[in-house]
Symmetry: C2
DNA sequence: GCAAAAGTGTTACGCGTACACCCATGG
DNA sequence: CCATGGGTGTACGCGTAACACTTTTGC
């Protein structure tokens, strides 16, 4: 079966930069390409848009097919489409970034990818296409948005302690924060509620447990 | 001549929301559609991507062809592509927004549009496709970006007075600003230089004339 | 001299930042 | 009882916001 048009049409793909926190650092989900072009190189999960699916659906579907990951916070990043960025044909790529809590994220390679794995941002392998640029811009957006929204909550499991949350902000902002000031600030946003429990993490006082009031919505603050 | 693919391909278009300041309000450039679908309705300038041009080139070309307008500040907004948003075929639209100084903006309708004209944002006509959503998001982005960048300068002619600039900020932010605080703030950014002249605007003291130090670059501030 | 916009400093308040010690637990 | 991270309050300084009068021009 073939499809014929009066004018040339580009192909459209989505690509997703998925971030999570593992081992106290930001990590990115990449797949190893099974086919040419760039066979054997690492790339963002993504693929061609089906003719009757929405862009965001496509991003979610490809992510699930290639890595087994689903149910993430997903936000459109930007669209690039330089001629010749893909040697096969003209490809327009609509890029997204996604955030996932570290717990219970099981990654399974799918059929189009030889392998899927997490990489610390500081130790990325050589990347296919112009995916390095996409990652750079996703990281910029994430860092900026952490300053004026509750997007960082999307990296947390359902419940967490304030120390854990502070640690996430410290990693995103790449600086250490004062414990008292952080707690005053984060509680003043009225976006957290205490769930009456304690978490024991070792030989020390257990921590109160909190939960995001609107875990499925990123609030704009300041 | 026809073009054949193994899988169905969507069409890709660009659409541009061009803002300017006229008559002390934000106005938007629209064209009246000459052909179906939505013949006779007003729409954003834009059109189909050529197979060897970059996305931004396409936006600029369509804008020039349809309205005669060129040399604007142009920034990508977002990409939408719901199935069935265009009755002809699947269309992915990469949207941009643009800002233009009001002076010397001559608008000329092109071949694909019956007419091109400016509309105050508060008095928009019925719009084709989902262009109302694009306009809403462009306006949100512009208002947000005015708070943390020098993007408002893109609405100014080459030289201007501080009162004129303040008026632009008041329109964008939809609130009146204190004259002394505004001047202190805008001058503290070190983005303006005085050009040694005065502007007489009527029966009152003439104003000093300023110019943006980097008129072709939007600086991030705060 | 009158109308109309240009231009100019000071004060107050609130928020962000800096900073150190006690508490609860496990071993 | 010791080690470890959890939890708490105050003081200072800076930056934002509020506020009114004099100057220059045209008619």
């Amino acid at each position: 079966m073939t499809y014929t048009y009066e004018y040339p049409h580009p192909a459209v793909t989505t690509d997703v930069a998925v971030f999570t926190l593992r081992e106290q650092q930001l990590q990115l989900l990449l797949i190893c390409r099974r086919h040419d072009p760039h066979k054997g190189k690492w790339a963002l999960p993504g693929g061609f848009l089906e003719i009757d699916e929405d862009l965001e659906e496509c991003a979610k579907r490809e992510l699930k097919e290639e890595t087994g990951v689903s149910d993430l916070y997903l936000e459109q990043l930007f669209t690039l489409g330089r001629p010749n960025r893909d040697p096969r044909e003209r490809v327009i790529s609509v890029t997204y970034y996604a955030l996932a809590p570290a717990n219970k994220l099981t990654v399974n390679a799918g059929s189009d990818a030889a392998e899927a794995d997490w990489f610390p941002l500081s130790q990325l392998p050589e990347l296919a296409f112009d995916h390095a640029e996409i990652i750079r811009r996703a990281q910029e957006r994430l860092a900026a948005k952490a300053l004026y929204s509750t997007i960082a909550f999307q990296l947390m499991p359902e419940t967490f302690t304030l120390s854990e949350l502070q640690s996430v902000y410290e990693i995103l902002r790449n600086e250490s924060l004062d414990k008292r000031n952080f707690r005053k600030w984060i509680l003043s946003l009225n976006q957290l509620e205490e769930v009456g429990g304690k978490q024991r993490n070792g030989n020390h006082r257990p921590a109160k447990i909190y939960r995001a009031l609107n875990p499925n919505h990123v609030e704009i603050i300041r």
